[in-house]
């Protein structure tokens, strides 16, 4: 029923309490929100939990959403805040981090080499402090502008640029170190 509707129509219907319209919003944004959470948290179960909570919380607080902002930015902000809370909780309640399985499949030599690179990037991302990892995820997974990233994380645009630059340098350093341990 709502599949062909535009976003504003869906949001208006959701405001009227039509939860099916909100279901369609969830369908459209769940991958982006989950990818953000997974990138931030590096743990699948937590990312799934937070994605679920983010959509519930966004619905309950939908009247706070202002139409002059992109909806995606608003819902990403909610997810990012929940991720930050979960990371804080995880400091005292640690769990195993994202395991390095990319889904299996056949293993021709090229695939193996590619997967090795991904494993190294995953490990480097996990070691990266949250302050640098979060902007990298928003930039390279969610394809957001520096300004949008600043809005979501509550930091100035200049700081976003610095953190992305510095985060990339740290990643490069770690990946280089692994390649050449001397």
């Amino acid at each position: 029923m709502y599949r062909m509707q535009d976003e504003v129509t869906l949001l208006r219907a959701s405001l009227q309490g039509e939860t099916a319209a909100w279901g369609e919003i969830v369908t459209r944004y769940k991958d982006a929100v989950f990818g953000l959470c997974l990138g931030f948290l590096r743990n699948r179960a937590d990312a799934e939990d937070i994605t679920h909570d983010a959509f519930l919380r966004a619905y309950v607080n939908l009247r706070r959403y202002r139409l002059d902002k992109r909806f995606s930015t608003w819902v990403f902000t909610i997810a990012a805040n929940l991720c930050r809370n979960r990371l804080r909780y995880r400091r005292n309640h640690p769990v195993f981090e994202l395991e390095n399985d990319s889904g299996g499949g056949t293993d021709p030599a090229r695939e193996v080499a590619k997967e090795e690179r991904h494993v190294r990037v995953r490990e480097a991302l996990e070691r990266l402090p949250y302050a640098y990892r979060a902007p990298l995820v928003l930039r390279f997974y969610n394809d957001l502008s520096y300004r949008e990233i600043g809005d979501i994380l509550g930091i100035p645009e200049g700081t976003v640029k610095t953190r992305i630059h510095r985060g990339k340098a740290m990643l490069k350093e770690q990946l280089g170190e692994e390649r050449d341990p001397s």
Binding site: T19, V26, F34, V60, N61, R64, S102, H118, V121
Partner: protein, 197 residues
């Protein structure tokens, strides 16, 4: 077209991680819709007040008159009682009144925390404004009312008190409460901020 190999590798890895776990999201929308049930988005305070007072325009007009008359009556009675009370009162102002005055005196970009904790040894506030690191409240006159002022930019702030090491998340002066991981936290809005959650 982006050709930075590190950026491409990063993008690739993040996307692969997400798509490898995509199955976890199957049916998420149905679960959320079921959980929401008949629930509607929470009303803003203006709308909530309007619905509470009267759902229709005609009823509203009638009730506005009643509310205005009641308020006027209270003001008159309050003025008379207040004048008599103040003229006979000793030099110390009642504690509750002083607390109200303090609350109103807060600058727009200032969070004022006031918490009665009669037998407490240590009271602190932790929140999103101090990265959840404890900031102490003080009770200099030893009357059991602990206070602290924190200057903040406009926005939405989550916080909780820590009384002798125990979490106290429901400040009666909060604008709202949130609950995560089994604990309540309080929320205040400063200077009209608050589109984040």
């Amino acid at each position: 077209m982006n050709t930075d190999p590190l950026e491409m590798l990063l993008r690739d890895t993040l996307r692969e991680d997400a798509s490898a776990s995509a199955g976890r999201l199957d049916g998420l929308e149905q679960r959320i819709v079921a959980e929401l049930g008949e629930r509607s988005p929470r009303l803003g305070w203006v709308e909530a007040l309007r619905q509470l007072v009267a759902p229709t325009r005609a009823a509203r007009l009638g009730q506005v008159a009643v509310v205005a008359a009641t308020a006027a009556a209270f003001l008159i009675v309050g003025a008379i009682v207040g004048r008599d009370f103040l003229s006979g009162a000793p030099s110390g102002t009642p504690r509750v009144e002083s607390r109200e005055t303090m609350l109103r005196s807060g600058a727009e970009n200032e969070l004022l925390f006031v918490l009665p904790a009669l037998n407490a040894e240590n009271v602190a506030v932790v929140g999103s404004f101090n990265d959840w690191e404890p900031s102490p409240l003080s009770d200099e006159d030893g009357d059991g009312i602990w206070t602290a002022r924190v200057s903040v930019p406009p926005g939405r702030y989550e916080y909780a008190f820590v009384i002798d090491g125990r979490w106290w998340g429901q400040d009666p002066l909060a604008d709202e409460y949130v609950r995560s991981f089994g604990e309540y936290s309080s929320v205040r809005y400063v200077g009209g901020g608050g589109d984040g959650v």
